[in-house]
Symmetry: C2
Subunit: 268 residues, 2 copies
């Protein structure tokens, strides 16, 4: 793992104990797939990061500073680049200071792909709800952490999370699409969940896809269920609890179309 820390646009040696990312989760992150020293979806990640920064009132480093820092860490292979941007250092208390943002860039191995479809757990941990925070990829992720710990405990690959009304919102680290009668749909992310980049690209290629509230019974009676994110791409679901989903041609076709969008997915 290689790491680079910036205070504003200047490299620094270590994180402050008073960084607001640590103290309040006061920041954002992106997890980007890189291949051969390039990041095919850089623009998409930068746009989401910018939207989140605008929502939270955090001043990002300039795009070229961030891109240059990122490229210093990349090598000629498939890698994951993680970028965390926090509101920086301040005194104690919630009131934001006016110091520069802290940016932490780090590289990580690309997660391996299983030959079989995913086995999912229905998480008991509800997704956190807040219309002011929904959609953006902020650092308040305790709900995802607890939900993922459940998956680990139950020996499952991933888990589905519901909101307080019992609506299915997302997996712990992916968006969900289901296929019913040949039509794909994914739940809205207006009060919880993250506006996934893979989700947006899928909605772009599926001209008749719908954004509809999703119930557990709809997931369990779907013809096909897939998860997606910008690092793992499309992941077909094979089992949810006792429900089994046979390999479905719609899911295979979706994966084929999706892989054509980003060269980094063609190199598993």
């Amino acid at each position: 793992m290689k790491t680079l820390i910036l205070q504003g646009e200047t490299p620094i040696a270590m994180l402050s104990a008073m960084d607001r990312g640590l103290n309040y989760g006061d920041g954002l992150f992106e997890t980007l797939l890189a291949v051969n020293g390039t990041i095919p979806w850089w623009k998409e990640h930068w746009q989401r990061l910018s939207l989140g920064a605008e929502r939270l009132g955090i001043v990002l480093p300039a795009e070229d500073i961030l891109a240059n820092a990122a490229h210093k860490l990349l090598v000629q292979q498939r890698q994951v680049l993680k970028i965390v941007v926090t509101r920086g250092v301040s005194g104690r208390g919630y009131t934001p200071g006016d110091g520069p943002a802290t940016t932490v860039l780090s590289t990580h191995p690309v997660p391996g792909r299983s030959a079989r479809g995913l086995h999912l757990h229905w998480c008991n941990t509800p997704v956190s709800e807040n219309t002011a925070l929904a959609g953006i990829k902020h650092l308040n992720r305790l709900d995802n952490v607890l939900a993922r710990a459940e998956c680990q405990k139950h020996g499952k690959d991933e888990g589905l999370m519901c909101d307080s009304q019992g609506r299915v919102v997302c997996a712990t680290a992916a968006n969900i699409f289901i296929c019913q009668s040949g039509v794909w749909s994914t739940p809205p992310i207006e009060s919880s969940g993250i506006a996934g980049i893979a989700r947006a690209r899928l909605l772009g290629i599926l001209s008749d896809a719908r954004i509809d509230p999703l119930r557990r019974t709809q997931v369990e009676s779907a013809q096909a269920v897939v998860l997606c994110n910008a690092v793992r791409g499309i992941m077909a679901v094979e089992r949810i609890g006792e429900h089994r989903f046979p390999v479905h041609p719609e899911a295979a076709e979706l994966e084929r179309q999706f892989k054509a969008l980003n060269p980094a997915f063609n190199d598993d």
Copy 2:
């Protein structure tokens, strides 16, 4: 400011960029009032921290290790001690690792007290809702940060936060009690908000206090409104928007009783 960082029970020089506190807000904190080198409510803070750690599945350092570390930082005056405990360092991804917790202890000045009552803002930022996280003092505090930024923008001392149903839950860094017909009440904290130590102590001395859902109109028509937390104690509210609350004997009496509970509050 003095700082001490522990990995498990061992002092370390700097925070890792892969600390889960930074990456996910995966941890807890306490803010303790110390006076003359002692922390009168240590037991209460330790109990809440332990409850939070149990809920999140984080293994705390032993109480005596933490208390000894805290006392190394304290001096002979009134101070605020902040303790942050995170799940420690792990690889990328939400799955908790099995490394030891990270603890960051730091000392800060005691906030000054205004001679007048508080002027409050009605925050637009809703409080985050999650029954699995409500009550504990975890590090996912972006809602409080955004709400406090609103107060700062509007030149107010503090702000009241509501949930998605419009129920008043708390201030950005305090619990709320209102007095109606001589009876005090405070809202429940089952799906959002923090189980404040001052709140619990107040409920202990107010034998007829009630825990009731609270509407904005009830706050605005109350005889008296006070905020409370374990660092500032009882804070009478003077204004909320255009509503003014005259100095009320019930609030003054409450403050007198409260101060008797903790010697650190008698030394303003």
